[in-house]
Amino acid sequence: MALLEVQGLKAFYGQTQALHDVSFSLEEGGITTLLGANGAGKTTTLRAICAMVRTQGSIRFDGKPIERWSTEDIVRLGVGHVPEGRGTFVNLSVDENLRAAAYTRRDHQAAARDLDMVLTYFPILRQRIKQQAGTLSGGEQQMLAISRALMLRPRLMLLDEPSFGLAPLIVQEIFRIMRRINEEAKVSMLLVEQNAALALDLADHAYVLETGSVVMSGAASVVKSDEAIRKSYLGY
Amino acid sequence: MGAAKSGRRIGLWLLLLILLVAPIAGSKLGLISNFMVLQLSLMIVYAIAVLGLNLLTGYNGQISLGHGAFFAIGAYVAAVLIDRYDLPWWSTLPIAAASCFVAGYLFGLPALRLEGHYLALATFALAIAVPQILKYRHLENLTGGVQGINLIKPDAPFGLPLNSDQWMYVVVFVVAVFMFWVARNLLDSRIGRSLMAIRDHAMAASTMGINIAQTKAITFGISALYVGVAGALHAIIFEFVAPDSFRIDVSISLLVGMVVGGVASLFGSVLGGVFVQVIEKYADAGARLLSQSLHLPIDIEPWTIYGIALILLVYVMPTGIAGGLAALWGRIRRRSGN
C-alpha cells in the first residue's frame, strides 16, 4: 500500500484555483520528486497535503483519509513539512527551535535521543545550539528546518525547495544528508525542487506538474534520460 | 434618469421641510413637549458629530477613539466665548469650527505615522486624558474648573414666535443640513475620492499622486471641525459644560453611533446620532425595564446593552443599520425584479 495517495486534488487561494487535478502516490521508504516550472503548483501541492490551503479531492496517508484534518493533526500523524523559505522561529535559539518541534512528543527519552541524532547529522547546529536562529546562515537555517521536521519523528517529509538560495557546495551537503536520513531513519520524502537535475539524482520517482495538473510521471532514471521530457518540461 | 433624479431631489427637500416644520408645529399645538424638542435637537447634534467621526474613520479609515476631545473643545470654545467674553452665541460656531480644525489638524500630524491599532491607542489615550486637561489649573479662569460653565439658552430673534427650544431646533436643523450637504459634496469631489482611495489602498493612492500625509491630516482637521461644531451646539442648547461630562463615554458614544448607524454612510450618521441620544436618554429606563421583565437579580446598566449591541453588530451587521437596510432593500428589489 502506498504511504501517501493523492487523488483528483484541487486547491484554492480565495477564489483562485491553483491546482486542477493532481493525482500521485508515494511508496513507503522512497523519495518522490515533484518537478515543474514556477507556478506549476508544486508548493501548493505540499501545502494542500498539510491542509494549509482550501482543497477538494482525496488525500490518504497510510490509508487514512486526511483531507478534512487540521494541519496540526496531520503533522502529529507523522508528516514533517519543511516549508518554503524555511520558516524557522528566528527569535528562538537553535535549541529552542528543536525543542519546540518536539512539543507534541510524549516519549521524552526518545526525543532526547532524536535531538542527539539530528545534531549528529548536522554537527554545525551543535556548535550554534545557543544562537538565535535568525543569526544563522541560509544553509544553516535550512539544516535547522530539516532537523526541526525530523524532531517530529516523521514517516514522511515534505521538502519545499531545500536548495533555494544556497551555494552549490552547501546544497550538495544537504542532499547527501537527506539521502542518509532516508536510508538510515527510513523517512520517506516528497521533494519539490526547482533544480530538476539535482532532484532526479536523489529521487526514485518523479511527477511533472504543469499549471496545476500532473502531466507526466515515471521512474526518476527514466525521466532523467528522456531528452524530450527534459527539454519540454524541465528546461535543461 | 434625469427626471428620476430631480424627482428624488424634490422628495428630499420635501422631507427636510417636513422634518423642520413638523416638530415646531407639533410643539405649537401642544402635541410635543419642549423637552421632546430638545431631545430632537440633541439627536441632530449627535448626527453631526457622528458624521464628523465617519469622515475620518468610515471614509478615510483612520480609527479614532478620542473624538470626544474635539467635542469638548468645541463645547468649551462656545461656552467660554459666550460666558467670559459675551460674544453672541452664533459667532462662536465658526470660531469653534476653526479651533477644532486646527486642533484636529495638529493632532493629526503626529498621528499620521500611526495606523490601525496604534492610532486607536493614541486617540484612546487622548480620550482618557480629556477631563484632566480641562481641569488644568491655568485654564481654570476660563473654564471654571471642575464646576464648569452654565449658559442660558438664546431666545429667538426678530420677535419670531418661537420659544428658545423651538428656535434652537431650527438653528440646529439648518446647520446640520448645511453640514451634511457640504460633506456630501466633499465626498463626491476629488478630495473625497482620495480619502476613500487612501482607506482602501494607501500604496496605490500614493502612486496615483495623492499626497497621503496632507490628505490624512486635513481629513483629521475636517473631522474634528464637524465634531467641534456639534460640541458647540451641544453646549448652547444643553446650557452647561463641565470636565466630567467629557469622559471617555463621549468618544465611545460617537464610535457606537457610527458603528450602529452605518460606517461610511451619511444616512447612517443620522441614524447614529438618533441612536446615541436615544440610548443616552432612555437606556437607563429601558435597561431597568429589561432587568425587571427578565427578573434578573441585578440592574443591567445601559453600557451593558451598548457593549452587547456593539459585539453582536460586528458579527451580524458589520455595515451598521444603514448598510443592513441597504442590503435588505437590494435583496427585496432583486426578488421582486425576478
Binding site: E72 | A111, V263, W303
Partner: protein, 301 residues
C-alpha cells in the same frame, strides 16, 4: 532629598502595577497584533471578584489565586468565543469589539457591586521597619508580589515546553502548526494568562486607589505608556517600561511642585498625571514606535 526618595519608591510601587498591565497587553499583542482596550476593565472586574470572595470570608491570599484562575478562564473564553471568529476581520471591527467588552465589564461591575467606593484592605501587615519612612508596607508588598509573578512568568515562558510552544506560536503561527502546536489553543492560553496577570495587578492596586468601576481607566493608560516605552512587542521591555513610567510620573509631579515652591509658577502637578501619560504615549508612538527595547518589525505590503 528624603521626599525625592519617597517619590521614587512610591513610583516604583505604582510602576509594578503598570508593569503587570503592560505585560498583559504585550502578551496579547505579540501573538495577535491586537491592543486589548478592555484589559483595564477586566482587571477591575477581577479586583471586585477578589473583594467579593474576601467579603464571603476568604483571606486575600486564598482569594487571589482563585480569582486569578477565574480570570484566566474568562480570558480564555473571551478569546475563543468572541475574538476567534473575527481573526480575519478588519481592524475597526476588532477595536469595536474591544470597546464593547470594555463597556460590558465596566457596567457589569457597576450593576453587581454598585458605584460607591469600597475599601479594600491591604493584605500586608502594617509593620514598621528600617526605611518605612520612605515606603509603606503595602507598596513593598506590591513590588515583591509583582516581581515574583514576573519571575514565575519568565520561568514559565523560558523553561517549560508549553511556554516555549506559546512563544513559537506567537512568533510564527504557520511554522508552529507545522510542528504540531495547536496555535489557536496557545492564543487562548495567552489571553487567559494576560487576564490572570491583570487580575493580580487589579487586586494589588485596589487598596491604593480604592475599589470602584472607574479605578482602572487611568492605570490602563499608564500600562499603555509603559508597554509603549518598553516596546509593545517586547515582554521584558514592557515590564521595564512600566517601572520607568511609574517613577517618571512621580518625578514629574515632584519637580513640578518643587518648581512651584521655588518660583511660584505652576506648570505641572498631581492633577496633570494623565496628561503626562498621554504625552508619553503620543511621543513614543510618533518618534519611536518600537519603544526602547522593542525591535522594528518590517511590514509586508
Amino acid at each position: 532629598m528624603e521626599q525625592l526618595i519617597q517619590q521614587v519608591a512610591s513610583g516604583l510601587a505604582n510602576g509594578a502595577i503598570y508593569a503587570c498591565l503592560a505585560l498583559a497587553l504585550v502578551m496579547i499583542f505579540v501573538s495577535t497584533d491586537h491592543i486589548n482596550f478592555a484589559q483595564g476593565e477586566l482587571a477591575m472586574f477581577s479586583a471586585f471578584l477578589c473583594w467579593q470572595f474576601m467579603d464571603w470570608g476568604l483571606t486575600f491570599w486564598l482569594a487571589l489565586p482563585v480569582v486569578a484562575f477565574i480570570s484566566f478562564l474568562v480570558g480564555v473564553s473571551v478569546e475563543r468565543v468572541i475574538l476567534r471568529p473575527l481573526h480575519n476581520a478588519p481592524v475597526l471591527s476588532i477595536v469595536v469589539v474591544f470597546i464593547g467588552l470594555l463597556a460590558i465589564f465596566h457596567s457589569m461591575a457597576g450593576s453587581i457591586w454598585g458605584h460607591t467606593i469600597k475599601q479594600f484592605p491591604s493584605p500586608f501587615p502594617n509593620v514598621h521597619f528600617a526605611g518605612s519612612g520612605y515606603i509603606g508596607p503595602h507598596q513593598i508588598g506590591m513590588v515583591v508580589v509583582t516581581l515574583l509573578l514576573l519571575l514565575a512568568l519568565f520561568a514559565f515562558f523560558r523553561y517549560t515546553p508549553i511556554g516555549l510552544a506559546m512563544r513559537a506560536a506567537a512568533q510564527n503561527p504557520v511554522s508552529a502548526r507545522l510542528v504540531g502546536i495547536r496555535v489557536d489553543m496557545m492564543l487562548a492560553l495567552g489571553w487567559g494568562l494576560a487576564a490572570a496577570v491583570g487580575a493580580v495587578a487589579g487586586a494589588l492596586v485596589a487598596p491604593v486607589v480604592f475599589l470602584e468601576p472607574n479605578m482602572m481607566a487611568s492605570i490602563l493608560l499608564y500600562g499603555f505608556a509603559g508597554a509603549l516605552v518598553g516596546g509593545i512587542s517586547s515582554p521584558g521591555g514592557a515590564v521595564a517600561g512600566g517601572f520607568i513610567v511609574g517613577i517618571l510620573e512621580n518625578l514629574v509631579a515632584y519637580f513640578g511642585n518643587l518648581l512651584e515652591k521655588s518660583t511660584g509658577i505652576y506648570v505641572v502637578g498631581n492633577g496633570e498625571k494623565l496628561m503626562v501619560a498621554l504625552i508619553i504615549v503620543i511621543t513614543v508612538l510618533t518618534l519611536k514606535p518600537s519603544g526602547l527595547f522593542g525591535h522594528v518589525t518590517v511590514k509586508r505590503v
